[in-house]
Symmetry: C2
Subunit: 162 residues, 2 copies
């Protein structure tokens, strides 16, 4: 299987740069540091900070599982954009510890995941293309959409890191 | 390269089912058919209908280019959710015409794309993982976010088609 680390790293770096723009927006508008991470598109939806941490966790989880490694647990305690950028940095640093050849045998793996009480098992290809990537980009794009809807000057070029 | 058609088809089917929920919402609230396709998260952003057609075009474009085929052009004329679902159906029908073994030689291809006046050239792997997939899921998730923010009863399970 193609090593997913460079692509996750690129997209997470783009997400961190989007949060830098959100920090500049907060400073310009004198918005307290804990306000923007709590923004949502609608009340019954996860706030920005959870969109960011879940995106990080899909990248970390997918890379670890496809490489046959234990998924490290990161606590969900972030309350500011600076802390969220640190979470992204720690995720990228973890991804960098996985050797590129760890994915050579990935295609043959069976991946079991728990989402709440729900357990699922996939072949690696189905897991990566049908679950991990759509989930990762769902939370990346929803984080972007929350900031976009709230007037932060971000767009698709920021999302793509182009 | 992994055949991308089953994953694009699965996600586009999920997007079509999300639009079915939007149609039910419009009917329940007596919203005219042309209103929901024009919704945006913020004024200087593309409306729902363009998010859907661009998602379709990234799936169609990626599959065609990776298979070494000419990308068919579909006109952007949709004004209702029913027409958008038809656009998705036509995209899925096109994807189904590409034989699975057309992707066997994809890794070695160079992909050139035009975005406005801007031309870019990529290796196929970089194109697929670094451009086509993030773009496809960006527009999928932004379409979902627009509907979610406007009170349509959709969520990540609908997006994943789980």
């Amino acid at each position: 299987m193609q090593n997913p680390v460079p692509f996750f790293t690129h997209s997470l770096t783009a997400l961190s740069n989007i949060l830098v723009k959100a920090e500049a927006h907060a400073e310009a508008k004198k918005i307290k540091p804990e306000v923007i991470p709590q923004l949502r598109l609608i009340a019954d939806m996860l706030p920005l900070w959870r969109q960011v941490t879940i995106a990080c966790d899909h990248a970390k989880g997918a890379a670890a599982r496809l490489a046959g490694l234990e998924v490290p647990a990161f606590a969900d305690t972030e309350t500011t954009l600076a802390e969220l950028r640190d979470r992204i940095s720690r995720t990228i640093a973890y991804l960098a510890t996985i050797p590129a050849d760890a994915f050579d045998a990935a295609d043959a793996r069976t991946i079991a995941i728990k989402a709440g009480s729900h357990e699922r098992s996939f072949g690696a290809v189905q897991y990566y293309f049908g679950y991990a990537l759509p989930n990762f980009y769902f939370h990346m794009a929803t984080a972007h959409g929350i900031l976009r809807a709230n007037g932060v000057d971000v767009g698709k070029a920021d999302f793509l890191g182009a």
